[in-house]
Symmetry: C2
Subunit: 270 residues, 2 copies
């Protein structure tokens, strides 16, 4: 069992490793949208039609190679900006996908032994949310199409798998953190917030108990304002309590919270 081979540390002699693995960053961008006749909102995401082989003509997650002067997070943010023209309400790393043959074309999948026709790509994937108030300003682009997250076609590469995992993480996260707010604007009613939870969790929630749970979490503040013009009792408007934000995110969350504060100061985020 004992081998004399040295235990590597980094950085490594560049000549040994040069360019054989490409690094890309992709982003799963979620937003709440309304489907024609349906009165309720559901999760949608933008996809890009591929212009090159492999998988030409199929849809894929927006992304691109990691530029040497951008952090992974900034790269994901700029992908989002290119795909939507918007700024995210929330942005978090999802997973790094690195199977050897994941970027081979579909015809190669059956025969795993075949050497892939293109270089190997490891993708660091982020997921993001877009505030509902921004969704209307989404930039229109010929090769980008928004689709319902629960009714996707077969996507290029392993991107169906990736979206499934993003949905799984989103469902979990909405139950123990405050991300749901990032799908809404500055001010919102409890019914709107509840609709975000319902769309993500895929089930109806009791309005009475929902109100109490959110109140107990201390994550929102009553603005005192109300919405009038509804044909029922006017609901209160709340806003997110930023001072409580990210308190439950651990070491990395803390860094992100600091980055978020900086972004707020620059006017880049809600």
């Amino acid at each position: 069992m004992i081998q004399p081979e040295p235990v590597d540390d980094r950085p490594v002699d560049p000549a040994r490793q040069h360019g054989s693995v490409q690094l890309a960053v992709s982003t799963v961008i979620f937003a709440m949208r309304q489907d024609g006749d349906d009165e309720h909102h559901s999760l949608w995401l933008p996809l890009v039609r591929r212009l090159r082989e492999p998988y030409r003509g199929m849809f894929a997650l927006p992304g691109g190679p990691l530029s040497p002067d951008l952090s992974l997070e900034k790269s994901a943010g700029s992908t989002l900006e290119r795909a939507t023209g918007l700024v995210p309400g929330y942005l978090e790393q999802l997973y790094a996908f690195g199977r050897v043959h994941r970027t081979s074309g579909p015809e190669d999948e059956a025969s795993e032994a075949v050497t892939p026709p293109c270089e190997r790509v490891v993708s660091v994937v982020y997921w993001a949310s877009i505030p509902a108030t921004e969704v209307g300003h989404t930039r229109v682009h010929e090769n980008i199409q928004w689709m319902r997250a629960d009714a996707l076609p077969r996507l290029a590469f392993d991107h169906n798998e990736i979206v499934d995992y993003a949905l799984y993480r989103l469902k979990n996260k909405v139950e123990y953190s405050r991300i749901a707010h990032s799908f809404l604007g500055e001010e919102f009613t409890l019914a709107e917030l509840r609709e975000v939870y319902e769309a993500i969790l895929g089930r109806r929630l009791d309005p009475a108990n929902f109100r109490r749970q959110i109140a107990a979490s201390k994550s929102i503040i009553d603005t005192g304002k109300r919405i009038e013009g509804t044909r029922h009792r006017p609901p209160r408007l709340f806003r997110y309590d930023h001072t409580q934000a990210f308190a439950d995110q651990g070491p990395l969350g803390m860094y992100r919270a600091a980055a978020h504060d900086a972004a707020v100061k620059r006017g880049e985020a809600t």
Copy 2:
């Protein structure tokens, strides 16, 4: 806001991106160990002394460049094998770290504007556990030293940050999943399992309530055997219920479970 710049999809023209960002895989390897006089166990991890600049002489996480023919997970596993001579009880991706200047030397940290002397490295970091029964067989290597996770010196690069995050994830995970078992051998007593929880969470647990919680999770099976020779009532031996394993891990967990089953068949894991 609308830019004519195309939304990238992959793979990319290799000439554009060639070799400017290195990809490495590191592993935070945890094991339960006993500290001299202390009768309780605590978390330890192996670290590698750096032989090159930057950070020469300091300790770093074991790792190395991603080899083009290995998946990220296999690469992390082989790092673990090189560092310890062992096979992991559990292995999971932690995070991809990709700040631009994270691999600069310590003297460069103050002046962020300085171009780093070495190439940019993105590290995909895994964390792993080693079963207690294997710890005794750990391979000894001149440049590797095991240290207590709660009393580390200043490490090279951003590796203190990474270990902190791994500890945070481990604490969370032990509360809602079954990973604690992966720190033990095939058969174990409830007291041993409880000690794993206590070492990770850093607090004592009520033996009575602990027993009930574990029983409720259905994660263990009574083997019927007992340990004799203690100077008190002989405790039962339990074993992990593999059929229930990973049921709570979502899409990616399912893939891992399948991979784990395959590894078991090949005799590579417990």
